[in-house]
């Protein structure tokens, strides 16, 4: 078996946090004697990621996504388990490893606000020891892909959130890493900017084969970019596999949307399947996946001319994911 780019085996991370009760009195007592509680943020997860994959990391807040990313990028020393990225143990933070990876956090900026990004880029070039020719090539490419030209020479302070994120992306990628960890890269951005960033990530992956592990609260990011997802909840890996397979497994039904010209009478549509919802003249039916086609044909056959509109589709992925987190298991 060839070596995967990222190999994680039984990774655990337990934080010791000071316990505090409410009130001034409790706070005073806490000053003298702290009580600690062990909180498992990551409770033994294992996975492998091959070169060139884009993998989405899904989970609610506090599920352990960021902790895992930090351990893999070398910022956190795990409490147990092993991990290898590009053959390195991340938390040893060897220069040979750091030169080949990047961690981008959507809510944390690495650029100095007072100076233009171009100056910060020069410093990064020197830190990573990027030869001038390669630097110019990469910067040119990033400038083109992200439309950076008008942004590079303004102090970062003066950029909008979206513009700043583009510049942050460029800063994190100047050394053309082989592995990129993206933590909420589109957080707070408007829809069109999210789209731009998404497109850019896909481009980066295709052109340079960068292996990407990303977390996002926006399912659209994951749907657009990731064929494969890891679902994590309370520090445990609940699912590892294709996004569409996840939907099929979690939601073994499809939705048929029916709109009748003359409206529905006496709940007549309920005989075709469970009613998912009714509204604005449209009825959504929930039918088992394997019967979806046949049922649709029956609807067409029975109702014929009365049909104003008909649709067949998967339930929204948000609902599917939400179901995982509330039931805490993948059936």
């Amino acid at each position: 078996m060839t070596r995967a780019i990222i190999e994680v085996d039984g990774l655990t991370k337990t934080f010791r946090v000071a316990e505090r009760s409410e009130g001034v009195g409790a706070s005073m007592r806490a000053l003298v004697r702290r009580r600690y509680k062990d909180v498992p943020a990551v409770a033994g997860i294992s996975f492998r990621i091959e070169a060139g994959e884009i993998v989405g990391f899904l989970g609610p807040n506090g599920a352990g996504k960021t902790t895992t990313l930090k351990a893999l990028s070398g910022l956190l020393h795990p409490s147990g388990g092993t991990a290898r990225v590009l053959g390195h143990v991340p938390w040893k933070r060897e220069n040979a490893y750091l030169r080949q990876m990047t961690l981008l956090m959507g809510n944390r900026s690495q650029l100095v606000w007072d100076i233009p990004a171009a100056d910060s880029f020069r410093v990064l070039q020197e830190i990573y020891g990027i030869p001038e020719a390669a630097y110019q090539r990469t910067l040119g490419e990033l400038t083109e892909l992200l439309d950076l030209a008008p942004l590079l020479h303004k102090p970062v302070r003066g950029l909008s959130l979206g513009e700043r994120m583009k510049v942050e992306f460029a800063a994190g990628l100047l050394h053309l890493p082989r592995v990129a960890f993206l933590d909420e890269p589109t957080i707070g951005l408007d829809v069109s900017m999210q789209g731009r960033i998404r497109q850019f990530v896909a481009e980066l992956n295709q052109r340079h084969g960068v292996t990407i592990l990303l977390t996002s609260h926006y399912m659209a990011d994951v749907v657009a970019l990731c064929k494969r997802v890891l679902v994590i909840h309370r520090g445990k890996l609940l699912y590892d596999g294709g996004l569409s397979a996840l939907a099929a497994r979690l939601a073994p039904y499809k939705l048929i949307g029916v709109t009748l010209r003359d409206g529905e009478t006496d709940g007549e549509l309920s005989r075709y399947g469970e009613i998912d919802k009714r509204g604005e003249g449209r009825v959504t039916l929930r039918v088992p996946r394997d019967q979806a086609a046949v049922t649709t044909a029956r609807v067409v056959h029975d109702l014929g001319d009365r049909l104003a509109d008909l649709s067949l589709g998967d339930p929204p992925i948000e609902d599917v994911i939400d179901k995982v987190f509330t039931t805490e298991s993948v059936a």
């Binding site: 934080f15 010791r16 943020a41 960021t66 902790t67 930090k70 990028s73 070398g74 910022l75 956190l76 020393h77 938390w91 933070r93 220069n95 040979a96 750091l98 030169r99 990876m101 990047t102 961690l103 956090m105 944390r108 900026s109 690495q110 100095v112 007072d114 100076i115 100056d119 910060s120 020069r122 410093v123 020197e126 830190i127 990573y128 020891g129």
Partner: protein, 262 residues
Amino acid sequence: MRRYLRLFMLFIGVEAQYELQYRANLVANVLQQAMVIVTSVAAVLILFSYTDSLNGWSIAQMLVLLGVYYVVQGMIDLIFRPSVERLMEQVRLGTLDYALLKPINSQFIVTLRHMRLIQLANVALGLVIAVAGVVRLGEGLGALDVLAFIVALATGFVLVYCLLLVIATLSFWFVRVENLLVIYGAFVDAARFPVDIYPGWLRVTLSSVIPIGLAVTIPAQAIAGRLAPESLALMLAAAVAAWLFSGWFWRRGLRSYTGASA
């Protein structure tokens, strides 16, 4: 080593560009610092209109000391302090993570990345005063004196650098440690007089825990021809010890930071 030197020069270049953007601010700052220095020189002159010697320090030697004080203070505020303040901020905001993921010595990038070049004015004015003092001494400077001065000055910087690094490292555990910098600042003011005029506890503090007194007085003694060689040797030894300790403490702090932060 050469790579680090190049990087350091680049840091200077980047910061220079930034500060030159704000010309009015630059001029105002230089004027303000000049005022502060002129006032303190005047204070020394007034003091010496009542006496010929301050615990054995003549007026010329005092001017040398004052000059050295502004050189030392200026250099520290020029290079170390801005970075240390920035580090504390980064620990609070969580952006230190980025610095730690660079393929480069973390202590180097964290303690030398930022500077306030405007402080060069302080250094230059300090040099002027020190030179004026030397001229007034009228004894001429031997090569050995100059050498001792340079060694003492460099050693003093190392000592203060180590102190600031230790203070900064504390932020890994306590997050908010700006007040320690304020305490440090209060002691820095005291260093504009020779440490040997102070009562015991303050003298000891200024020469040990907060070695800014040593960093100013010893180089000034060297140039004013009052230096005992064993003081310099002792200071060198202290600097080596402080360097080793602060480096160890920094790595320890980093381990704790990466071991605990979420």
